[in-house]
Symmetry: C2
Subunit: 199 residues, 2 copies
């Protein structure tokens, strides 16, 4: 199987994946921003998520920055700026800010060094907590704990559920496909001997 | 923060997530089927994915089955049977087959013990390869290698990309929300000093 074909096939094999922009800085507070589609929900209590990074054999600015500074931001992507978000995947020099290169606006919060993406309706600050090396292919699962959430309150339901689609948050498949979503239904907690019911 | 509110909030914090049905058997070849939304793409070469399972302190049939038999299937979910897929999350006794309980049809392939979901347009057979314990909350990342892919060829693009939306494959958010998708665009490989372009 051709290498590019295989990469497209396997990357798209798992269906729709979360997309987000990871904001970091190096020790000198130079900002970095990169799109990722490898976010893993790890648990709600404590609130943990992982990002899988490719093998750190070439420069991986975001991974190095997280390990150096201990913090990173996640910033979800909407249909209004997904092209700029995609462009952050270009291999910019370390000296070049992806914010400047793509036209996304950096937003800084009081007392927080890492940049957020101003255009993003869901912004999360995480603190580096642990990592797991996947020896099978040299990737690294970086685990962070949620420290603070900045959210457009219009998309927060009364039960705590975030209705991302109301803010135009998108999802991705493979390496390069971007999708809007349309809510079918939320379903009630499933119990044996009870048919599935809408919430 | 209320425990249920926190669970809804953090589970939905990462946006849209891959949904799939995990098919397994125990040593006696009794089938088991359960919906998961914690799939992680780990790499294309070798082709690897992970599933995060909650702490094995209560019965976790799928996890035990994978560790016992070494194999599992993933079966993506469409808008035509997502309610039945959701129902597999109910706590059935070990003796009860989720196929029988929900009305999903088990499909068996020559020489393969684990069941697939007949209704699913994307079916993947994986072999258990490794696991990583996340000590922070007791979860377990089970890593599998792709052995075989069964796919409706109508959704396979010439470059290897799987156009899941053409088969009605859905995505999820939080614990209970199901979404259809609508392709915005695929974008070309991003390069510095070149604007984002449609594929």
């Amino acid at each position: 199987m051709d290498r590019l074909y295989r990469t497209q096939l396997v990357n798209s094999l798992w269906g729709f994946r979360p997309l987000t922009l990871v904001g970091t800085t190096d020790k000198l507070e130079n900002p970095n921003l990169t799109i990722v589609n490898n976010i893993l929900h790890i648990g709600a209590n404590p609130p943990l998520a992982g990002i899988l990074f490719r093998p750190p054999v070439v420069e991986r600015h975001s991974l190095e920055n997280i390990l150096e500074t201990g913090f990173f931001s996640l910033n979800h992507i909407t249909n209004s700026f997904y092209r700029k978000a995609h462009q952050t995947s270009a291999k910019y020099d370390r000296a070049q800010s992806e914010f400047e290169a793509t036209g996304l606006e950096a937003e800084y919060k009081d007392g927080i060094t890492v940049p957020f993406v101003k255009e993003s309706p869901v912004k999360v600050l995480l603190e580096y907590t642990d990592r797991k090396e996947i020896e099978l292919n040299g990737t690294v699962l970086v685990i962070g704990k949620v420290i603070e959430i900045f959210l457009d309150e219009k998309i927060l339901n009364k039960d705590g559920f975030i209705a991302h689609e109301k803010a135009g948050v998108i999802t991705g498949a493979g390496l390069d496909a971007y999708y809007e979503t349309n809510l079918l239904h939320r379903l009630k907690y499933a119990r044996p001997n009870q048919p599935p019911q809408e919430l």
